[in-house]
């Protein structure tokens, strides 16, 4: 059942066609930002209206939707987006990565490897990886047209000169299909390698900036680096206190009013699934009310 009085998945059909045409061009030109006429959604910008429009154009009644925000399914943002599509498209929702056919995300890629049967939809605040270096749209567009990414390399090299390494730890720029430099959205650089040759289709929506882009399955996604300074995805050198995972991205959370801290998986489904399978971390059993929020 979907909500009466609304079109299926909220958007009108003309808007969906416009977004769908943009999505097909985005898939045909991996990493290139396709302009689109972004619509108002019943959530404020900054709450993932670009991702929501992409999801609304793609989702069907047989889909199973998961929404994560910083790896968690239970934040206000994730819950309201999930509820929105349950109401307007009548879809089943889940918190389990493995059960989802569409995963809308802000700030993370799930730890569970994605499959060819899944679509990952990213909410993107700033789609232009060159924007901080060049404010003029005509100039950044020219740079992409000519594959002139010297400015980006200069910026990264200055970082190395100053700090001895590239200090970017999230929204770390990538080269897609050997041609377009792309903003992966504010995911930790830890997640960048998951984009490379993923079997899943990855779609990106920036509502305020009115851009859609895509990475098809099995597409090369390289984090920018230099021969003498290869890419190193950053992660806390700790194990998850709850499930003991050493290979997942960790958040440091305050666990009591005496300043006690604990590292826990940012991906709550990953942590829950591991604990259900019997994995125990050093702080297993800790009453972690509100962890990750």
């Amino acid at each position: 059942m979907s909500l009466p009085g609304y079109n299926f998945a909220y958007l009108d059909e003309q808007t969906k066609r416009m977004i769908r045409r943009a999505l097909l061009k985005a898939v045909a030109i991996p990493g290139y930002q396709v302009p689109f006429a972004s619509r108002e959604m019943p959530l404020a910008y900054g709450w993932g209206t670009g991702g929501m429009q992409v999801t609304a154009a793609v989702i069907g009644p047989h889909d199973v939707l998961k929404v994560i925000d910083q790896g968690a399914d239970d934040t206000t943002n994730a819950v309201s987006i999930r509820r929105f599509f349950a109401l307007t498209a009548g879809v089943r929702t889940t918190e389990r990565t493995a059960e989802a056919t569409i995963i809308q995300t802000r700030h993370r890629i799930p730890e569970t490897p994605l499959t060819a049967a899944q679509i990952l939809v990213y909410q993107v605040p700033q789609p232009e990886p060159l924007r901080k270096l060049e404010p003029r749209e005509t100039e950044t567009r020219r740079m992409h047209a000519l594959a002139d990414y010297g400015l980006m390399h200069v910026k990264l090299y200055e970082d190395i000169a100053r700090h001895g390494r590239i200090t970017l730890s999230y929204d770390y720029p990538v080269l897609v299909n050997g041609r377009h430099v792309m903003a992966p959205s504010p995911i930790p650089s830890f997640d960048n390698p998951k984009m490379h040759r993923s079997p899943a289709l990855q779609l990106f929506g920036a509502g305020r900036e009115k851009r859609i882009y895509a990475v098809p399955p099995y597409t090369s996604v390289e984090s920018l680096a230099f021969e003498d300074h290869p890419f190193h995805p950053w992660k806390a050198n700790e194990a998850c206190g709850l499930c003991g995972a050493t290979d997942s991205y960790l958040d440091e959370v305050v666990v009591d009013d005496r300043g006690g801290r604990l590292f826990v998986c940012s991906d709550t489904d990953h942590c829950t699934t591991r604990r259900a399978a019997g994995h125990r971390g050093a702080a297993a059993g800790h009453a972690l009310a509100g962890a990750g929020e």
């Binding site: 769908r20 097909l24 061009k25 898939v27 302009p35 069907g60 000519l146 597409t219």
Partner: protein, 194 residues
Amino acid sequence: MTTLAPGFADPPLAAQAAFRRLLDAMARPGTVLSLEAPPAPPPLAPAAGAIALTLCDADTAIWLDPALRTPEVIAWLRFHTGCRVVQAAEEAAFAFAAQATAMPLDRLSTGSDEFPDRSATAVFQVARLGAGTPLRLTGPGIETTTTLRVEGLPPGFIEWRRRNHTAYPRGVDVVLVAATSIAALPRSTAVTVG
């Protein structure tokens, strides 16, 4: 007065289902998928009709090859999609050809360096997908290489695809159609015979 053949029975759901197949086809070049397509007025193939119903409207200019320029096809497309049918292939966002040889390959828009998305999508009706000339495909969406067999490709298609691929990121994206089946060759796909 002639009666118009119906379009999608439930447009929002049918268009969504067809779009997902198209998205999947474009994301996995060379994969043959079937569309649930209502009968379209001949010689428009049902899958080509479903593509128009799913993606075309008053904002899209479409070009039809001479075989498709029948009053029935034009009336059906105009009524169900509201699209503009244009004479100049250069202006078309979508070009449909019932006779693959009639596709004006070198006149279709490939977009600009700044806006390569402002380019045509060419929908070729072919005799069969899954049989005929083997095309060897590599590129995004393909794990290693894949083979797509097509019966009824126009002569010069492979050479045109080679030129099209060289112009990347400008280029024309192709959807091949046979009855209710589709397979896509986005511009990013390198195509050779074999």
